[in-house]
């Protein structure tokens, strides 16, 4: 791990050579085509634009709060892009907008969580293959293990021949890696050889606490060795490296070889949330020194240098992103509150007399929006 470049200086090579990465089975995936590279760029621009717009929405009073992912576009789009939504399942936190967008989730339904419409979002998790948005730090990591073990029990996983094996990918950050549940999840997954990809976005900060005061042992990836699990510590600001690493991890898990941990080194360039004030714990100089090159700008330069895309393509991508954001904004604006009866109706599959009585008195005694 000591050969790992810092996130700021990571080269385009992305994935680390080293003993841990060699444990991963399977050949590297096919290289990305030019069309795919351009698609990735378009996704990153769409995510960047929606992310910065959401902060504006909050300042305009359209939404009460938002958790920006500025600077994590490569890590999120690259990993989400590798998901096969016909068979895999993703378990997000509350900061995976870029993953959701790359997976093709309805973004009005996704962003509705930030409008305070419904905690888990309004999208259908089963159809979109994205579990409901999760506010508990590290809360869904074990769910991925359970879901993945279900694939094993269903006799699907480990039989790579028919190509139907589903893999669970769970997201968490450097802060969440301190949670006991994350340890339990990794240990369970390794003991059961569950097809799980643990995707850590190490963005340097858990609100105000930097990684070095959060993570002992040098890195989250280093912990995988304790579970006998292969780990890849990658340059999370290189979208191509992220796609390739995630695809390799999926192939490894899909083939029945058990879980993989990916630690994508990135940087939270913005605040933790729209109510956070990073000036209280880091300076602009710190940000300039530590953030490294903007992943979107970096990818743009690379596409340009490799002759994969030109300025007119970039302009089209930005225009498309703006159009998309307008649609999503309109959708969010049009989103009224859910009927209050849903409070009562969605608690159980089989309701209770007490809950019905409470619903009845609510209906009679309250004014309803």
């Amino acid at each position: 791990m000591d050969t790992m470049p810092s996130p700021a200086t990571g080269s385009g090579a992305g994935q680390l050579p080293g003993p841990l990465s060699r444990q991963l089975s399977g050949a590297p995936a096919e290289p990305l085509t030019d069309d795919q590279l351009r698609e990735l760029y378009s996704l990153m621009v769409a995510v960047r634009h929606l992310d910065t717009s959401a902060i504006a929405w909050q300042r305009q009073g359209l939404i009460p709060g938002y958790a920006p992912e500025l600077g994590q576009e490569a890590a999120q789009v690259g990993s989400g892009y590798a998901v096969d939504t016909t068979r895999d399942f993703v378990f997000p936190t509350y900061r995976e907008m870029g993953v959701a967008r790359a997976m093709g989730v309805d973004m009005v339904a996704y962003m509705s969580t930030h409008k305070a419409t419904w905690h888990g979002g309004l999208y259908n998790p089963l159809e979109s293959r994205l579990a409901p948005i999760q506010a508990v730090v590290g809360g869904s990591v074990l769910h991925a293990v359970g879901w993945a073990h279900g694939q094993t029990l269903s006799g699907i996983a480990g039989t790579n021949t028919d190509g139907t094996a589903g893999v669970a990918m769970t997201y968490f950050g450097d802060g969440a890696s301190s949670q006991g549940d994350v340890h339990e999840a990794m240990n369970f997954a390794a003991v059961m050889r569950a097809p799980v990809v643990f995707f850590v976005q190490n963005n340097g900060w858990a609100i105000s606490v930097p990684t070095e005061r959060q993570v002992a042992g040098g890195s989250v990836a280093a912990r995988a060795a304790g579970y006998g699990m292969p780990a890849l510590q990658i340059d999370g600001n290189d979208v191509v490296a992220v796609v390739e690493a995630t695809r390799r991890a999926f192939a490894h898990a899909r083939a029945g070889n058990g879980p993989v941990l990916i630690e994508a080194m990135t940087y939270r360039r913005g605040p933790h949330s729209t109510s956070d004030d990073p000036g209280r714990y880091r300076s602009l100089n710190d940000e300039r020194d530590d953030a490294g090159e903007d992943p979107v700008e970096r990818f743009r330069k690379r596409l340009l240098a490799d002759g994969v895309a030109d300025e007119s393509f970039f302009a089209e991508a930005l225009a498309a992103a703006k159009t998309e954001e307008e649609h999503i904004r309109a959708g969010i604006q049009a989103l009224g509150p859910r009927p209050g009866m849903e409070m009562f109706d969605l608690v159980f599959q089989e309701t209770t007399p007490a809950l019905q009585a409470q619903a009845a008195s609510w209906r009679e005694e309250s004014e309803h929006v």
């Binding site: 888990g120 579990a131 029990l153 006799g155 339990e184 240990n187 159980f348």
Partner: protein, 354 residues
């Protein structure tokens, strides 16, 4: 489902339905219920610490791994949050997990997954991801066990939106309530009174049961275990047997005690409480859990709500104390005993208004 592991379980479902009456211990009744649930629904999974080869520390899962294989009945690593978090994920994948936490006190490390995840996932996912998780918790005290092996968590669980809570009082109830709970689409905390595991009782398997279990209807709501005219004792779990003893003693003094086994601690059968106390006009609720904010307060309020005009005395609560559950030597001082319950009955009998 094309599925080697699970089909082997489904193939076991050729057992003939049971009829008549059998004398079983609660441990045997629970084991039988799990056996049948595993046979009937290939999506059910039984797991926890030592649930596989050992058959559980109370042998409730005895023999099930040999019968249904390591895919459906298995040991987990020693981590309760892991067990419950994995249960949530398995439920999201379409399974019906029946996890065990080995002892009541071991549920505390899993509270986050129970309260923040399992109880809310149906709600959070707008009904698209139900949590048919039946969590078995060997519960309550009375066996001289170490610390954290004698806790009564029903009020804690009942307070959590999205959970249902049930506790059987005898082998018959254990069999029918577990079979019912394990077919529900919502999470149920199934609190097994561990001090009653080994006492035998008649289990009625068919509609011969007049009191409403099995084919006589789903075992929902409370159940009158002994009819009486003068006072209603309300209890659940191991305290039901104690209250039945008390009713026998009270009869020697000419006092006719009705014993109501609440069974479901959420939802509580308010109608059954009302029907019984309207008749007896006096109520004493008995539980092992500490007094303050215990479920007895909820029961008392429900009775007050429905029977205020006819009650002859305030509802009495005979409970454990607001102390950490004591060591075995002091256990009998803590758990409501016969005399304390009799004192409670005496107080409601002699109460006069004004």
């Amino acid at each position: 489902m094309s599925n080697a592991i699970l089909e082997s379980g489904a193939a076991m479902a050729d057992r003939a339905p049971r009829h008549g009456v059998e004398e079983l211990s609660m441990q045997q009744a629970l084991n039988l219920a799990l056996d049948e649930v595993l046979a009937e629904n290939p999506k059910t999974l039984v797991f926890g610490e030592d649930c596989g080869r050992l058959g559980g520390v109370f042998r409730i899962t005895d023999g099930l791994q040999a019968k249904y294989g390591t895919g459906r009945v298995f040991d987990t690593p020693l981590a309760e949050s892991g067990i419950l978090g994995m249960s949530a994920g398995l439920a999201m994948a379409g399974f019906h997990p029946i996890p065990e936490v080995q002892f009541d006190g071991f549920a505390y490390p899993a509270i986050n997954q129970i309260v923040c995840q399992i109880a809310r996932m149906n709600y959070r996912s707008r009904g698209t991801m139900p949590m048919p998780v039946t969590l078995r918790v060997p519960s309550f005290g009375g066996i001289r066990a170490p610390e954290h092996h004698g806790e009564s968590l029903e009020a804690l669980f009942a307070h959590v939106p999205g959970l249902k809570v049930v506790s059987p009082s005898n082998p018959h109830e254990a069999y029918h309530l577990l079979k019912y709970a394990a077919t529900r689409p919502d999470p149920v905390i199934f609190m097994e009174p561990k001090s009653r595991y080994w006492q035998k009782g008649e289990v009625t398997f068919d509609s011969a049961d007049p009191a409403g279990s099995a084919a006589g209807g789903p075992p929902t709501g409370a159940k009158v275990m002994r009819e009486g005219r003068h006072v209603t004792l309300i209890a659940w779990g191991a305290m039901v047997a104690r209250c039945l003893q008390v009713a026998g003693l009270a009869a020697e003094d000419g006092i006719d005690v009705e014993v109501l086994d609440l069974r479901w601690l959420k939802p509580i059968d308010a109608a059954a409480l009302a029907a019984s106390v309207r008749k007896t006009r006096r109520a004493v609720v008995v539980h092992e859990a500490p007094l303050t904010s215990g479920l007895g307060a909820e029961v008392a309020q429900l009775i007050t709500q429905s029977c205020f005009d006819t009650l002859k005395a305030p509802v009495e609560r005979i409970t454990g104390f607001d102390v950490p559950y004591p060591s075995g030597d002091l256990e009998d001082e803590y758990i409501p005993n016969i005399d304390r319950i009799l004192f409670g009955i005496q107080r409601v009998l002699e109460y006069r208004r004004g």
